[in-house]
């Protein structure tokens, strides 16, 4: 089946004008899911009936002369780390199997208010810990652009769902690259907003100071639409940024119309000349940069020396926070409970049975990094490196408007290729982690493919709160390069 319309912007326009009923749009997507999902594994749950009711409600509002909003009738896939009342939420873990949250995450609620239709909850690495989706406790997720390949992670299901045309747009969470890296590997657009721009209320926490919810979409404009609909201050999240949300859609328009001419774009030495970067990725990235330069971008090179330590700092801070965030999964009130002779034995048995090996590894790393006698040498030093990264990136942004790098040093790797070596898996995030440490917005968009058709992602990083600029540059680049349409399986 061929899509009548593929972009969220197009769907919303059609639905708002009454041209395409939301119900018909939804059925096209549900049909594709029905036909191909068993080969992909993008979803942990497809919420057909709920989605149909939502689409009908949208159509009824249109018929009544109301405007359902920016995302009217747009099929949306939600990473299963986000709570949605009425549907089970697992975070990809056995320890939460069968848990029904009694409340809905702010971001999801806002997207539904804007007219989005949730088609299902997507597959992910357990508690968002992983870069290949292979840590899902439930099932394998395959890359729609190469079925023997990983989709990336941890938001692998969301990226795969968009790439396969199972949803027009998706949301994921990005702690160290968990939106951008799978977006890169699946050939879609993925964006991590400034820390605090999107409320984390209702996102099952991995590492609170790094987690940020963001969009995955087929085009930069669609990502901007989703971002615009869910971002903004939330009284339920003390780390959310107060004040009005600037309009980023004008940035998209500017990028499309005015292009990239005059923009100072910087190549980050430490990320672009990294050992272990796939030669194809390096080549596609260089060609992209040349295209941008040809269109009038001013190319500069900047060095951000502290980035050498960013990965190490990240793998201390994130596990430290996760060791505390995941303590609540103790079998007392929700999710799995294994029997034990006393409370402590019950806690132990539950956590032993409920958590997968990568989650246990990170809880142990984090517990160690925070323990008395070691906290200053590990967690404390990591925080000092984080401060350096923030400072160095601020300095870099005095020399350039945006920073560029490949999103991932490699294209999608074969399933199972890195599962036995955690370090090789961790290195997948080396280019994406700095934006999380610094809290800056960053976006990945497809900029080409290797000979086998596997996508390469271009990462654009912008200063704190400069989403509009980020979307402008990304949209300009996309206009030059061309968007990668969903795979027609």
């Amino acid at each position: 089946m061929t899509a009548v319309i593929t972009t969220a912007a197009g769907i919303a326009r059609g639905v708002r004008s009454g041209e395409y009923p939301a119900a018909r749009v939804l059925e096209e997507y549900l049909a594709r899911i029905a036909a191909h999902e068993d080969r992909i594994g993008a979803f942990l749950l497809v919420a057909q009936e709920r989605a149909r009711a939502a689409a009908e409600a949208i159509d009824a509002r249109v018929a009544a002369g109301e405007d359902p909003g920016l995302l009217a009738g747009v099929p949306l896939a939600v990473k299963d780390a986000l709570c949605l009342a009425g549907l089970p939420t697992t975070a990809g873990s056995k320890i939460l199997q069968g848990w029904h949250p009694p409340y809905t995450a702010t971001a999801v609620a806002r997207l539904e208010e804007a007219g989005a239709v949730v088609v299902g909850k997507t597959n992910l690495d357990e508690f968002a810990m992983g870069s290949s989706n292979e840590n899902s406790a439930y099932k394998v997720c395959r890359n729609p652009r190469g079925l023997d390949r990983v989709p990336g992670g941890s938001s692998g299901g969301s990226a795969a769902a968009v790439a396969a045309g199972f949803a027009s747009v998706a949301i994921g969470s990005d702690t160290g690259g968990s939106i951008r890296q799978p977006a890169s590997l699946c050939g879609v657009v993925g964006m991590k907003p400034t820390y605090g721009r999107v409320s984390r209320y209702g996102l099952i926490a991995f590492a609170s100071s790094l987690d940020q919810i963001g969009p995955l979409a087929g085009t930069v404009e669609d990502a901007a639409l989703v971002y615009q609909s869910m971002a903004g201050a939330d009284p339920m999240d003390a780390t959310s940024i107060p004040g009005d949300l600037p309009d980023v859609l004008s940035g998209v328009k500017e990028g499309r119309e005015a292009g990239i001419a005059g923009m100072r774009v910087a190549l980050v030495t430490e990320l672009c000349e990294m050992e272990g970067t796939d030669p194809t990725v390096a080549r596609v990235f260089e060609e992209t940069v040349k295209k941008l330069e040809k269109s009038g971008a001013v190319l500069v090179e900047v060095s951000v020396p502290s980035l050498v330590h960013a990965l190490s700092a990240y793998y201390l801070i994130a596990p430290a926070e996760c060791s505390s965030n995941l303590a609540r999964f103790d079998g007392v009130r929700f999710g799995l409970r294994e029997a034990g002779d006393d409370v402590e034995a019950m806690n132990r048995a539950t956590r032993e049975a409920g958590f997968g090996p990568e989650v246990k590894r990170r809880i142990m790393l984090g517990t160690y990094a925070l323990s008395s006698g070691y906290i200053d040498a590990y967690y404390g030093k990591a925080q000092r490196i984080r401060t350096l990264v923030i400072r160095d990136l601020e300095a870099a942004f005095t020399q350039a408007d945006v920073l560029l790098s490949p999103t991932s040093p490699t294209v999608a790797f074969p399933l199972g290729a890195r599962t036995d070596d955690p370090m090789s898996m961790y290195i997948s995030d080396i280019c994406t982690i700095p934006a999380n440490l610094a809290g800056i917005p960053a976006l990945s968009l497809p900029c080409g493919t290797d000979d086998a058709g596997l996508p390469v992602g271009l990462q654009v990083m912008a200063p704190v709160l400069s989403e509009s600029l980020l979307f402008r540059v990304a949209c300009a680049a996309e206009t030059l390069i061309g968007a990668l349409p969903p795979v027609l399986l």
Partner: protein, 489 residues
């Protein structure tokens, strides 16, 4: 490290520091909008945040900060920022398996509390007073209601997330009586300033003690023991007395004290070992990433500080004793009762006799409050009760004894003293002609007594006076009666 020699002739002194937890009197909990109330049906004041559900986030209660600042201003502490840390440990009634508390940067640092000790003011310094959240409450189901023979445990999360102020004293306390005075002083201050309900029996105020002993004159501290589970000031005094004696005996017999936590058992009047230092948890404190540090507005702090003028009962007692020549013990009984001292001073200011007012307050009013279980604020009294009573005595309308009866009636009925006097016909008979008539009647009715008096037995005059008082229902002025009888005989 033991500073204590095992010489049986050495005198020992105790070194005590107290940790007082006071539940703050806020409408809602520390980090969510649930009601903060005692005695509600179990698990009715709960939400995703205070239940620690996955994805829920804390948001700091402004009122809790305000109350903490109010306390800090009252005790002259250095008021800082509201910065929170996580204290990580597993406990079934702690929903997140970590407690949000303050660590190296308490909102109130230092400060002091003055207590009455042997008729003089004595200063107890504070280390800190910081904000944190309370845990839920476990109810062990079984024969004894204690954990060792429980068949199951129910948890009530109504208390989970209730704001607490933990007030830590320096080891400035030397005797159980000083500890009692200190707790009474804190309780009064927290109550007067409407910071806490300070009901130890309801758990809204809880006290733990750190106790060590050392030879009198020694500089170094002995090994300290933490004593928990004292549910009243009385059990605090008992527990301290027991523990000091226990440690002294151990040292006298050449033994060693181990650093440990001990549990006070009300039933057997002893402390029992709970856990030693070696078993103590590593709490892995680290900054709470879900909350941002809150810097307090200096003008706001000053406005709050301006509302807490000298509230210390101890200091007030000493001042009043000096100003009016009151007995310190009697003033002390008044100053610790909320509102009572304010009342006395207000009455003195409008002309009430100071000493009589103090006596009325410490006797009739206290007796009334004890009987009814009421509070001064709950008494429906018009202004000027003591002043009216004073002038009724001064103009001879009431004897001191009658005045006390009138006051008792005033307290019960809420009527003014003059109303009670006229309704009950209690006015003292000062009209000499009326009194002369009654005296004449009594003399006429008791010829044998008159004979005895004339025969020289002056003692029986008292009988005649008594008869007159009886005939006037106590309303006669006894001195006047004496004088009239004398003049007749």
């Amino acid at each position: 490290m033991s500073a204590v020699a095992s010489d049986p002739c050495v005198d020992y002194e105790a070194v005590i520091g107290l940790e007082v937890h006071a539940e703050l009197k806020t409408k809602t909990k520390m980090f969510c909008g649930c009601r903060n109330e005692f005695g509600a049906k179990p698990n009715t004041n709960v939400c995703p945040v205070c239940l620690g559900l996955p994805g829920a986030l804390p948001v700091t209660n402004r009122k809790a900060i305000e109350l903490a600042v109010r306390f800090g201003a009252a005790v002259d502490a250095k008021i800082g920022r509201a910065v929170f840390h996580r204290k990580n440990y597993f406990y079934p009634d702690m929903p997140k398996d970590f407690q949000i508390t303050q660590y190296d940067e308490p909102i109130n640092a230092g400060g002091k509390v003055e207590i009455l000790d042997a008729g003089a003011l004595h200063t107890i310094h504070l280390t800190r007073a910081h904000l944190e959240e309370d845990t839920g409450k476990s109810q062990h189901q079984g024969v004894s209601g204690r954990i060792h023979d429980a068949t199951s445990t129910l948890i009530d999360y109504n208390r989970a997330g209730v704001p607490l102020l933990e007030i830590v004293s320096e080891p400035d306390i030397r005797t159980p009586d000083q500890a009692k005075q200190y707790v009474n002083e804190l309780r009064a201050v927290l109550g007067f300033l409407d910071i806490s309900d300070v009901k130890m029996e309801e758990g809204s105020m809880r006290v733990d003690a750190n106790v060590s002993v050392r030879p009198v004159g020694a500089e170094a501290f002995g090994v300290k023991v933490e004593v928990k589970n004292m549910n009243s000031v009385r059990s605090l005094v008992r527990a301290l007395t027991y523990e000091i004696e226990r440690q002294t005996v151990v040292y006298r017999e050449g033994g060693r004290i181990v650093q440990e936590t001990r549990h006070w058992e009300e039933e057997d009047g002893r402390t029992h070992s709970m856990r030693s230092k070696e078993e103590a948890a590593d709490y892995r404190y680290f900054p709470e990433p879900d909350l941002v540090p809150i810097t307090l507005d200096q003008a706001w702090i000053e406005a709050i500080s301006a509302e807490v003028p000298g509230v210390f009962p101890s200091r007030r007692a000493v001042q009043l004793a000096e100003q009016y020549g009151f007995d310190l013990d009697r003033v002390a009984s008044v100053v610790y009762t909320p509102g009572l001292c304010d009342w006395v001073e207000a009455e003195i200011a409008i002309g009430a006799d100071p000493l009589r007012s103090l006596n009325w307050a410490s006797q009739e009013v206290m007796a009334h409050l004890n009987e009814t279980g009421g509070e001064v604020a709950g008494l429906a009294l018009s202004k000027g009760v003591f002043a009216d009573l004073s002038s009724l005595i001064d103009d001879g309308t009431l004897s001191k004894k009658l005045a006390r009866e009138v006051l008792t009636e005033v307290l019960v009925s809420g009527k003014s003293p003059r109303t009670v006097v006229s309704e009950k016909g209690l006015a003292q008979i000062s009209d000499e002609s009326e009194l002369e008539r009654i005296v004449a009647e009594v003399i006429g009715a008791n010829p044998e007594t008159i004979e005895k008096i004339r025969a020289g037995n002056k003692k029986v005059v008292g009988f005649l006076v008594g008869q007159v008082m009886k005939a006037t229902k106590g309303a006669a002025n006894p001195e006047a009666v004496h004088r009239l009888i004398d003049s007749r005989l």
